[in-house]
Symmetry: C2
């Protein structure tokens, strides 16, 4: 296998969320037990942005339409995004995260948060660099590091064994830094587990990063969707050296604006400048007209976000109840975001076979835990930003099928 063949073999997307349509859900007929269970199909691989579930922020389309009317001035923006839009977003994100942001130098608008993650990693990591990656964590993190020729140094998150903290193994984290990792990439709230890092954990990360001169890229995509009783600590508002931290957010999840593909990264001016240089050759800019939709962000109107959070929390509670009826399933109630990541009991089929069985017999699409960690081969990620009743019924089918294929 040539070098480049090998590089792309490690970028496999066969089990990535959203790509299920490309893989025929085939399975040996002798493996299947019993009949399919009827019900409304649910695609838990991503959120449902239709009217029956969670629609985009009110006014988003109208802002877009205004942008199109504005013409060339909006179509062709600076690569890092239109200044006036960056001004507004920087002010809101400074309020939200508790630390000032220079809209001129410390913020870039990207095509989705995926774009921001790619640019941040490529701006920090080059061939041979070691990068600390949490396990489990967002499936692209590992691939980004590998694509840049970097080396992943894993750090364990013991999310099931802890309450009141995410469960990051701080000794392993320091070990990774001692071992030469000079970049840390992690999501908070964690994707896929829905846990939130405690204030102490965030402060400890800041102190370790300062001690070892580590650049930290923190993906806070779900930090607005925080359930009752939860506190969120922004890494950038700690004592961390601000030149060494980039925060990533975007309106594609809680706000259901994924169809516009918008993300932002903010923090270290040096890294943001590199990211813009790279964006110039990767995609030029986030779509000019779509950028305008960011005006609706953090401006959703009285009570809108509180209501959206409440609705998600109700779904979470019902799904946790349903999962709780099945002995051997362990699920930590999500503290933020719209993922639940239950661990399943031993089954007579492999995880990937069970994923296909869920699709064929249960009308359920979900993402295997192996996308997030090689050690999560008995876990499945469900995005519960769905129609409430359909999601609960679908999770009942998951429990039925777990019983049917229990070892």
């Amino acid at each position: 296998m040539s070098l480049i063949d090998d590089k792309f073999a490690r970028l496999a997307t066969d089990n990535a969320p959203g790509q299920e349509v490309r893989a025929a859900a085939r399975i040996d007929k002798n493996t299947l037990r019993g009949e399919s269970i009827p019900g409304i199909p649910v695609d838990f691989s991503h959120g449902d942005v239709n009217a029956t579930a969670f629609e985009p922020t009110p006014g988003a389309f109208e802002e877009f339409a205004e942008g199109v009317k504005r013409g060339g001035d909006q179509a062709y923006t600076e690569y890092r995004g239109k200044a006036e839009i960056r001004d507004g977003v920087a002010e809101k994100l400074a309020d939200f995260t508790g630390r000032a942001i220079s809209s001129a130098d410390e913020l870039i608008i990207t095509p989705g948060t995926q774009g921001a993650l790619f640019l941040a990693v490529a701006a920090s990591v080059t061939a041979g660099n070691k990068v600390a990656i949490v396990r489990p964590d967002y499936f692209a993190n590992r691939k980004l590091v590998e694509f840049m020729g970097g080396e992943v140094v894993p750090v364990r998150l013991d999310y099931l064994g802890n309450t009141g903290r995410a469960g990051l193994d701080l000794n392993e984290l320091e070990g990774a830094f001692l071992n030469g990792a000079r970049t840390l990439l992690f999501s908070n709230p964690n994707n896929p587990t829905g846990v939130v890092y405690s204030k102490d954990e965030i402060q400890a990360i800041a102190e370790l990063a300062n001690r070892y001169g580590v650049t930290v890229i923190v993906d806070q995509l779900y930090s607005r969707l925080l359930y009752s009783g939860q506190l969120f600590s922004h890494l950038r508002a700690t004592t961390i050296n601000p030149a060494n931290v980039v925060t990533i957010m975007g309106p594609s999840k809680t706000e259901s604006l994924s169809g516009y593909r918008l993300g932002v990264a903010f923090g270290s001016a040096q890294l943001i400048e590199r990211m813009e240089k790279l964006q110039a050759i990767v995609s030029l800019r986030a779509p000019g007209y779509c950028q305008v939709v960011l005006r609706t962000w953090f401006a959703e109107g009285e009570g809108w976000m509180a209501d959206r959070i409440r609705q998600h929390q109700l779904i979470r509670d019902d799904l946790i109840s349903v999962l709780g009826t099945c002995s051997g399933i362990s699920a930590r109630p999500s503290e933020a975001g719209s993922y639940v990541f239950p661990r399943f009991p031993a089954l007579t089929v492999s995880l990937h076979e069970f994923i296909r069985i869920l699709r064929i017999q249960g009308g359920v699409i979900a993402t295997p835990g192996t996308e997030f960690s090689p050690h999560s081969s008995n876990s499945i990620r469900f995005n519960f930003s769905q129609n409430h009743r359909a999601a609960v019924d679908a999770m009942r089918r998951v429990v039925q099928l777990t019983e049917r294929y229990r070892a």
Copy 2:
């Protein structure tokens, strides 16, 4: 300087089109001669998509609005783009280029043609690989190769010394292949010169590529905007090994749809598959709602494209006339696309100073030739997809300032 500092130093965007707003147009006052020349400012760094110049394709916004209404099904597409949209685009591009395209395996929708170029280069080139790059050619080509750790092997385009052919030095091209280059990246029509490769040149490229097993990435962004009397040869329709060619196009230029950021790449199934894997970590997908706008592509309605070409040709003719009034300016009339790339006589100021003088005293933004080739330090690129009268007046100011600063 560390490795990564060095890597980003080579990605400078200070003189890149669209970034002028970030660079203050400062110049030593003693350098300036005479007064500013009044007139409507023209930004020749990119096309003008406003109503006074060249508006987006009719119906584009309406298609977008339909996409938003369609909801989640349109927001979350396969990474390579929604199947039904790929089906339509593949059929039209097969007709246009004269060779079939499998919409399932041989086409990907990307965030702009810049996204397609990045993915195509990253799918073909890895550290240490040699890549043949034409000089002059699109400014990002060199940067893409360098970012991947590849080595640029330049091939000369003698665009001023030829008629009836683009002027590619085929001996140098074969030399590059003999020297180990296994990828060729070029634009046809050429950006910045507006020349079209002849049938013989394209056939020679195909034969050399086959002989040396070279992968060819051809950027045909402007291949629809072909002036009267011109013939266009599609590389993919020659005898070239189809597994070794990727063609890139998009609706952002002639069709003025840049604000939606859409591009497509089509050809080699192996390379398209790699590109999709990479897109998964670079930007996930082209914006879901924007993808719908591709339905208007190659479906602009009777006479629309012919009229648009005619209008551009009239501007081209007038600009060439204006440039012809200035002795020492050489300009080859563009055969396609909306660029003119005149060579200027010796001036008392450097090219980059003259670019700033054009902005300060002439109200003209244009792109220095050095973005396209280190040997083009006496040339300037003008995108004349502008309001006709404003463009002609602005070019008269360019001529006046050339006279004023003539050595």
